[in-house]
């Protein structure tokens, strides 16, 4: 009898631990709950669900499903109802964004294994992996994939079979994930130098020395790039003229992509403020203290901007009235950039949660 009780207790404990590990929390709003107004409509809470680890910084959309990577080693496809349609186990955690082209997802992983992976989202058995020591997301230009490694190597690979087309080497380590503007790929190294890489030839050219180490980049049409730096510097760079048009210093770090609306840049900073900056002249038009540190990119919906904060809130800010419309409290610090697709807004926060809202 004693043995039975003991075995039962052990089994319960182990079972509880396993269940805890795989426990998913799911809450669906039985009655659609409006959070607040967004323009002429409402934003309504639909559901929140948990993953096995906190969601990554960016979401994508594929075939109506939300593509989410977590900070551990999984990639998920979640449908509008909040159901996990696919859960793919990887051997490392996804770095940054997942690039989706057709049915394929391209991403790099790090942690346990540094790889560049091409994965079919329809048939997950269709996968190619290449060993690349990278912590940055890849960039796709035409049929070529550009991946930058930690030690400053720039790999150009075929998107079909990940075969290496050419490799270039930078002097310094790379600081920021590469991004593409008008067919050119830009890379920033640890000393703040901006390089351009011509595709497909691979000509590496130094563009300029940036006066700030950028945390966020916003390409605007094909000639202009807005950089936001951790030291609060915001600058506009013209790629054709190869010069910095203007630079302003804001209070607080800029860690999220600004929103360009009506000739104004709406920039959130970690100093609990939102700035309105004239896009052409680079002049600060207004600073609004909102009392929450802005931690995610801004998503524009009509005349409002929606973004997340480290104070566990999803915030709606009216650009015209220059005031906060509503704040919605989430279960953790908002760490994923909100993604707008169709009438839905998805956002992720710490402690493994993904939220879906509906705009109606």
């Amino acid at each position: 009898m004693r043995r039975v009780i003991f075995a039962a207790i052990v089994f319960l404990i182990l079972g509880w631990r396993c269940a805890e590990r795989h426990r998913v929390y799911f809450q669906y709003g039985e009655e659609v709950k409006p959070i607040g107004r967004v323009g002429d409509g409402n934003i309504n809470f639909l559901w929140v669900r948990s993953l096995l680890a906190a969601p990554g910084k960016d979401f994508e959309v594929f075939d109506g499903s939300i593509v989410v990577s977590d900070l551990r080693n999984r990639l998920y496809l979640i449908n509008e109802m909040g159901k996990i349609v696919k859960s793919i186990r990887l051997k490392g955690s996804v770095n940054g964004k997942v690039l989706i082209n057709g049915e394929y997802a391209y991403f790099t992983t790090s942690g346990d294994r540094f790889r560049l992976i091409k994965l079919s989202l329809r048939n997950t058995g269709d996968k190619i992996e290449k060993k690349v020591y990278s912590v940055f997301e890849p960039v796709l230009v035409d049929s070529l994939l550009l991946v930058v490694s930690m030690d400053g190597k720039v790999y150009c690979m075929s998107k079909e079979n990940l075969g290496v087309v050419w490799i270039r080497k930078l002097k310094n380590r790379v600081y920021f994930a590469p991004f593409s503007v008008d067919g050119m790929v830009y890379i920033i190294d640890f000393s703040g130098r901006l390089f351009s890489v011509e595709i497909p030839y691979g000509k590496l050219r130094k563009a300029t020395d940036l006066p700030t180490m950028p945390e966020t980049v916003l390409p605007v049409d094909d000639t202009l790039i807005v950089f936001g730096g951790r030291d609060g510097k915001l600058l506009l760079y013209n790629v054709t003229e190869n010069r910095i048009r203007w630079m302003v210093k804001l209070h607080g770090r800029i860690v999220s992509k600004p929103l360009l609306k009506n000739g104004m840049l709406i920039v959130g900073t970690m100093a609990d403020s939102i700035y309105m900056v004239d896009f052409k002249k680079g002049k600060v038009l207004d600073r609004i203290y909102i009392g929450e540190p802005v931690s995610t990119d801004m998503v524009g919906v009509g005349t409002v901007a929606i973004f997340g904060s480290l104070s566990r809130k999803l915030i709606c800010f009216d650009i015209i009235k220059k005031q906060v419309v509503w704040k919605c409290k989430l279960k953790g610090r908002v760490i994923s950039n909100p993604l707008l697709f169709g009438d839905f807004l998805v956002v992720g926060c710490e402690y493994k949660y993904v939220y879906l809202f509906e705009l109606r």
């Binding site: 003991f6 030690d151 480290l310 610090r333 493994k352």
Partner: protein, 932 residues
């Protein structure tokens, strides 16, 4: 053994009341009744008492500003109100119950990471207060950020970053004006004891570790950009070995990085000192070893001059005397830290002064500091000066006629000001009364004025102390020096023509002279030249004139402070500039306070409780069966009130379940001087001891414990127990019922100091009287007397002769039995194998260092195990029921090694004896535990 469960609970009681070690230990006394209030700001709940209101508002502003800054720097937000607990002085701070440990003098604040509380003393100095708040808030952010990262990545078992990084980061972020390299770091580089990052574990917890960590982070930021620090933190999850994380982020190997770091330090610091000389090449070194500071000069006769100084060379802090021109050994004038009279010295803070045969010095005595007036000729204390409103006192200075005593002091509200005491009129006069940190005062001739250090000058807001003069008559204050440097420890020459002081105006502390001519008037601006008289590789402090051409001072070099004697000559004067390197301003700076809109509420503190610990456990023993239970402890934010709950069940069958339910509930109050606790319990289950064998006992009752500390060294304890007990021995004795009343009184004394494996000096003893009676059935009735005396004779610095004499007697029905045998009591005999209701022990041990340090080198690193202590021992004792059977004993040699500061492993080799014969076989006994 099931009995262990009961002992665990009793252990709970005594641990909760915080003797430093179980059974003995010094006392952490809550002398002061604080009227706690709470100031709620946007991000903090600040606990304070009204007397320090101004410092609280200043601290609140500093905290809110630091919060915004760190929110950006860490890219992190703390989603709760951080509890900040402020005290106005270090003496009040030492009384805190937030942590149970004693707080050393050098601790400027701490972050308690379990409940996220920050505790900081204001201690009179705005800049130190500011630094402490900023430093501790870095810990708050860092801990929260790292936890957040590891939780997000589900790496819950991942090791936390090492202490050197944590503390180095706190120093790096919190120090706003790093003008010069730190003194200790410079010394470490020059003297070759700087540790590389891969070896920094050898100096864990030391001040040097803080500074090395800060310096390494500064180096990384300079090399890779300031963002590198945040990147390292954000990638902490990448590898369990933190050096690999640094390598991953920087792309360089840790070996290359630390080589480069050390080289950059050496280049910079060696360049700084290339024109300096060694103090020992010029001056006479009067002391060796340890920290020897704050010299004072005593002319015991026309021909004999002695230098008095404070030193901790023996482990205790004492006042020593060294005769000049005489090669005799040091003489101890005052033995400190052994008695309540001289409870604790403020080693690095307070100077001493001599007038005639009288010595004035300061120690902590109970709740406050007191000034002792000591007769050097008679060798005894004349009287003490104690001021109830003054908490901390430092640097007493006699006037020329000896009728007045000048000093600096902190009042209850934390204001550091200058006072003097008039002996004739028994009058205390306050000279300054403001927010500024005033210290180190000295008299001018005829007591017309005072010179002192203060941060009231134009550079004071950045933490720099300059010299000021104060006119006693018109109360005017004027700067005597002004600049972005620290000018401290002023000392006036015998002819009052030269002011000697130490300053770091050229990058490190050297001695300087400022001539005072007839034009000098206290309270008026005075322009003069400043001359440097020392230019050493080490830093110099506390200069004191012996005569017109000789001084003594403290030199920091080779990680020790020593007293040096210097003969002055004209050649040693080097002109460095004017006394005002920045133009002094008429008005003083004002620290900013938290403005109205950022203050949410103020209220009286009524208690805010949260969980300390909650754990459950399940065990399975092949003999005793399974047991499961839970333990919860709750305390309030100040740690003054605690609740402990223990529930467990040890049923072996279903039918036993209700009967085998055990619980313990206790409440403890630690906020006042008298600590007390009470609660109730039910213990039921099978027990065993060698005397009674197996038996089943159920005990339901209530207890009350009280602990009254008389001084820091001794206390009274009382434990009262009321219980219903039912015992079943499974034999002819049947079931025994009893309604028990227990009363135990103890007197405990402990002034010992500890070495690596146990006490090495001082003494400790405990006397316990107890009576237990069954008030209903008279089935139990016995008394117990315990006396345990231990004395440690320090024969040499590292050689101790330890003696223990202990007697245990218990007589009556169901008298207590005492068990000896084993490495802790009577070596050479099996553990607890000798028992009786009478017991006697006599242990002697000669403790010495056997091996200074043991290091194991592995291919991937090394492990330092500290040293191995040796002991020659002779034990004697016995336990008996009736009729003394004769002594048992043993003798031999033992070895102890301290693992990690918490566990001591012991190995004894010897032979038994009955003091008539010696056994032929040798015993080898391995165990754990501290020396007696």
């Amino acid at each position: 053994m099931k009995l262990i469960k009961a002992y665990v609970c009793i252990f709970f009681i005594f641990v909760a009341l915080y003797p430093q070690y179980y059974y003995f230990g010094r006392n952490k006394i809550q002398y002061t009744k604080f009227d706690w209030h709470v100031l709620k700001t946007k991000h903090f709940d600040i606990y304070y008492y009204p007397e320090m209101e101004e410092f609280v508002e200043i601290g609140a502003r500093i905290a809110e500003e630091a919060y915004l800054e760190y929110q950006s720097r860490f890219e992190h937000h703390i989603n709760r109100e951080v509890p900040l607990i402020f005290y106005s002085s270090h003496l009040h701070f030492q009384q805190t119950n937030v942590i149970p440990y004693f707080i050393p003098e050098g601790t400027g604040g701490f972050f308690e990471f379990i409940k996220g509380r920050v505790v900081i003393p204001a201690d009179g100095s705005y800049s130190q207060f500011r630094h402490a708040i900023r430093h501790e808030l870095v810990h708050v952010f860092f801990t929260s950020k790292v936890n957040s990262i590891l939780i997000d990545r589900q790496k819950l078992d991942h090791p936390f970053p090492p202490l050197w990084f944590n503390e180095g980061l706190a120093e790096y972020f919190s120090i706003e004006n790093r003008r010069y390299p730190d003194m200790v770091l410079r010394d470490a580089v020059l003297k070759g004891y700087l540790r590389r990052i891969t070896e920094i574990g050898e100096i864990t917890g030391s001040y040097l570790m803080y500074k090395e960590g800060e310096s390494f982070l500064r180096f990384l930021a300079d090399k890779f950009g300031k963002d590198i620090i945040l990147r390292i933190i954000e990638n902490v999850w990448v590898d369990e070995d933190f050096t690999h994380v640094i390598e991953f982020v920087t792309g360089s190997s840790i070996e290359d990085l630390q080589d480069e770091w050390v080289l950059s330090l050496q280049k910079r610091l060696l360049t700084d000192i290339k024109d300096k000389e060694s103090a020992r090449s010029r001056d006479v070194k009067l002391t060796e070893r340890g920290f020897n500071v704050k010299p004072a000069v005593y002319s015991s006769s026309d021909t004999l001059i002695k230098v008095l100084f404070i030193s901790n060379r023996s482990g205790y802090t004492d006042i020593y005397a060294k005769s000049l021109g005489d090669k005799s050994n040091l003489e101890i004038i005052v033995r400190g830290e052994r008695t309540h009279e001289y409870e604790a010295f403020h080693l690095m803070r307070s100077r001493m002064d001599v007038h005639g045969n009288r010595l004035a010095f300061v120690t902590k005595k109970g709740e406050h500091d007191v000034i002792h007036i000591f007769d050097l000729k008679a060798g005894r204390n004349l009287f003490d000066l104690e001021f109830p409103n003054l908490t901390a006192i430092s640097s007493p200075k006699f006037s020329a006629d000896g009728k007045r005593l000048l000093f600096s002091a902190l009042d209850f509200g934390g204001y550091a000001d200058i006072y003097f005491y008039d002996f004739d009129n028994s009058l205390l006069v306050r000279l300054t009364d403001d927010i500024y940190n005033d210290s180190d005062p000295i008299w001018l001739p005829d007591a017309r004025g005072v010179i002192f250090c203060s941060d009231r000058g134009v550079s004071g807001k950045d933490g720099f102390m300059n010299l000021f003069s104060f006119n006693i008559v018109d109360k005017k204050i004027a700067p005597l020096t002004c600049g972005m440097e620290n000018d401290i420890s002023p000392s006036l020459s015998p002819d009052a023509r030269e002011l000697l002081f130490c300053s770091n105006r050229e990058g490190k502390y050297d001695l300087y002279v400022l001539p005072l001519d007839e034009g000098f008037t206290p309270g008026e601006l005075y322009v003069s030249r400043v001359y440097r008289i020392t230019s050493y590789t080490g830093d110099t402090f506390d200069p004191v004139w012996v005569n017109d051409s000789t001084i003594v001072y403290t030199l920091f070099e080779d990680y020790s402070f020593n007293i040096m004697l210097r003969y002055l000559d004209e050649d040693s004067l080097a002109y460095v500039g004017q006394n005002y390197s920045i133009l002094p301003e008429v008005t003083c700076w004002k620290p900013e306070r938290l403005s109205g809109d950022r203050v949410k509420t103020r209220q009286i503190y009524r208690g805010k409780y949260s969980l300390d610990i909650a754990q459950g456990q399940l065990t399975q023993d092949p003999f005793f069966g399974s047991m499961g239970g839970a333990q919860i402890a709750i305390s309030d934010v100040l740690g003054d009130r605690r609740y402990e709950i223990l529930i467990y069940n040890n049923a072996r069958t279903k039918s036993e379940f209700m009967n085998s339910f055990n619980f313990f509930i206790g409440r403890y109050s630690l906020g006042r001087r008298t600590n007390f606790g009470y609660g109730m319990y039910r213990f039921s289950g099978e027990r065993f001891n060698y005397y009674e064998g197996f038996y089943d006992e159920k005990r339901v009752g209530a207890f009350f414990v009280l602990q009254y500390p008389i001084t820091h060294f001794n206390r009274f304890e009382n434990v009262v127990n009321l219980a219903y007990s039912q015992k079943d021995w499974y034999d002819w004795r049947g079931v025994r019922k009893a309604w028990i009343v227990e009363n135990h009184f103890s007197y405990v004394y402990d002034n010992s100091i500890w070495g690596l494996s146990g006490p090495v000096d001082g003494s400790r003893f405990i006397v316990t009287l107890g009576y237990v009676v069954d008030v209903r059935y008279s089935n139990v009735s016995y008394y117990t007397v315990i006396a345990d005396f231990r004395r440690y004779f320090r024969l040499r610095l590292y050689l101790t002769y330890a003696v223990r004499v202990a007697g245990f007697v218990s007589e009556g029905k169901e008298a207590q039995r005492f068990y000896i045998g084993g490495s802790w009591t009577l070596r050479g005999y099996p553990l607890f194998s000798i028992w009786g209701n009478h017991c006697f022990l006599f242990n002697q041990e000669l403790r010495f260092p056997f091996i200074t340090s043991v290091q194991l080198r592995f291919p991937r690193g090394k492990v330092n195990l500290g040293g191995i202590q040796g002991a020659l021992f002779v034990d004697a004792g016995d336990a008996w029921e009736s009729g003394f059977p004769g002594l048992r004993g043993s003798f031999g040699i033992g070895f102890r090694i301290n693992i990690g500061g918490y566990l001591v492993l012991r190995y004894d080799i010897g032979r038994r004896t009955d003091f008539r014969k010696i056994s032929k076989s040798t015993f080898y006994q391995f165990f754990f535990g501290w020396d007696f």
